[in-house]
Symmetry: C2
Subunit: 340 residues, 2 copies
């Protein structure tokens, strides 16, 4: 048992608009030999996720903001290198919220650390399809959007970690699926997942363009919208919604770097006449679905019904670039940083 010298990232300044490299501070950290009740872990993968942008803002929210000058947090998986905790032993695979660093020592409970099962899945899957983004998709489309067989489903951000999982769950449930993504490569990926129609939003001009594309794909409208994007996508979904359509509002990445108040959908009044249901959600409120989710994934992934793709950047140095890439659409599937 010995200390591990490691590198990590702190928030240097709160970003204004699109985050930039200088908002992040590269710092030295030590994962000390674990005391009683602690574990020492070397992270093999860390996650960057759009929601982290919200934690960079100093405001009251469902998770507290990152503190200036302190290491940031986020999903990570790694192996126990030394343990002072009876439930963990050297070599155990562990997920935690101690990302943005190469190694750490802490009490498992203080880091939301969990021992992961040894499965046929690659370790990184626990940060994506079998992890938080996967559960987000699962809870959002099945519980929040109340998916029914035969629904016509529109998914924005359909090439992302959450969206690509939503597309496939909806196909497994025999729905017609329209996915939107940016650029031909991502659209091809969405199509390869089984989506019936794919909209390249970069080819569509504003909300009217998205409406035209949606009407072409689903002339009688949509029953469900899974929103990862917000803005014009949400406006178009409301415009094309059938009566009693349900919308799961998961995230609005098009808005996260706004520096001014930008208008919401001009057609919000249609929510009344069409009797729509819009519901926002956060994955942590649906942790009770975890067991069911992992059981389904354990069936779907080996059966080839649930594919996943990763965009990987190598080395802790790359973590801010990976994060910033999320807002430029640099990722297809889950964006990850490989640490060992």
């Amino acid at each position: 048992m010995s200390d591990i010298q490691a590198k990590g990232w702190a928030l240097a300044t709160r970003p204004v608009g699109m985050p930039k490299e200088s908002d992040f501070g590269f710092v030295d950290t030590v994962a000390s030999a674990p005391a009683e009740g602690e574990i020492q872990v070397r992270n093999s993968w860390m996650s960057v996720d759009p929601y982290m942008r919200g934690r960079m803002i100093d405001r009251e929210s469902y998770v507290p903001p990152f503190e200036i000058g302190k290491l940031m947090q986020g999903g990570a998986v790694g192996r126990v290198t030394a343990s002072g905790h009876p439930d963990f032993k050297e070599g155990d695979l562990v997920s935690s919220m101690n990302g943005w660093r190469e190694a750490w020592t802490a009490k498992p409970e203080a880091s939301m650390a969990q021992k992961l099962p040894e499965t046929g899945l690659p370790e990184s899957a626990f940060l994506g399809v079998a992890g938080m983004p996967g559960l987000t998709a699962y809870a959002g489309i099945l519980r929040i959007a109340e998916l029914k067989e035969g629904d016509t489903v529109f998914v924005s951000g359909a090439a992302g970690a959450v969206g690509s999982t939503v597309v496939q769950i909806a196909k497994i449930k025999n729905c017609t699926v329209i996915g939107s993504a940016g650029g031909p490569d991502k659209c091809a990926f969405v199509k390869s997942l089984g989506a019936d129609h794919v909209i390249d939003y970069r080819e569509a001009s504003g909300w009217e363009g998205l409406v035209a594309a949606l009407k072409a794909a689903a002339p009688s409208g949509i029953d469900v919208y899974f929103d990862n994007v917000g803005g014009d996508h949400l406006t178009a979904a409301i415009e094309c919604a059938r009566p009693f359509a349900r919308m799961a509002l998961c995230g609005m990445i098009s808005k996260y770097n706004d520096t001014e108040l930008t208008p919401g959908p001009h057609n919000v009044m249609m929510i009344v006449g069409k009797q729509l249901k819009l519901r926002g959600f956060i994955v942590s409120s649906h942790a009770d679905l975890q067991g069911e989710f992992l059981k389904d994934m354990a069936e779907w992934i080996p059966a080839g019904k649930m594919k996943f793709q990763e965009t990987v950047m190598e080395g802790i140095e790359q973590a801010p670039a990976a994060f910033m890439g999320l807002f430029k659409g640099a990722n297809t599937g889950k964006m990850l940083v490989k640490l060992t």
Copy 2:
């Protein structure tokens, strides 16, 4: 059995923006002696309601648009003057959708005509607290907004036919109620209904002013919002919503006469982080609650728990003025036209 010569109102032209007198055409109509299966009715009251503005627009909606040059429709109550239908006899009190005219002859089924019970209530109550606006309030606050005892409830348009009923149902269910209305007289009326706090929106400057007033009334936020108004009120409600708040979107009277696309709430992204549920609804989808609703009203009204006020204009000539008055806030409680 003889014909009745009557007056009525047709839509002359589709209004642009705020409706004006010349959009309406005053026409002669005849309620002929009823054929077999028909009833002849002299209306004693007719209703004007904000939703009718939507029917003046030529578009696909949950009810078909009014036709140019034809008599308009709307809620009315009256007495059968002659009957060719076995279930109706002379003198029966009847509600129907054959408003905007003094008398009519038709098959009951074709006019949504229903025989009303003889109660202690005035006839006009069946167009308000014991009619469509009452059921709208009942279904919206209890079913759509999922009201729970102890909720903090914000109601806009709280002096209107629907809003004033919502305020009182929420008080009956032991909630804290904040109502908004325009001007001191209406605010006094809302207060007299038992509202804990009243906001005069004319004194509040934009959505920020409403937020300030809401925060003063409910420092820890609101659990439920019942929206009759839209616009700044909806923005303020989202801003002040507690996590998991529910919003019943019933109408957005501030928007009905817009001639341009106007922006929606700038803070729509808060729906995600606060995990809000917004649900639009139309009363006709909740007709199954009618029995329960009338049973509760029959208890609440005599017990003094459910007060109602009416703003009455006299004579069929006044019907357009009564309708236009809705958008100027001319009514406290239900706006009605007395016909006999």
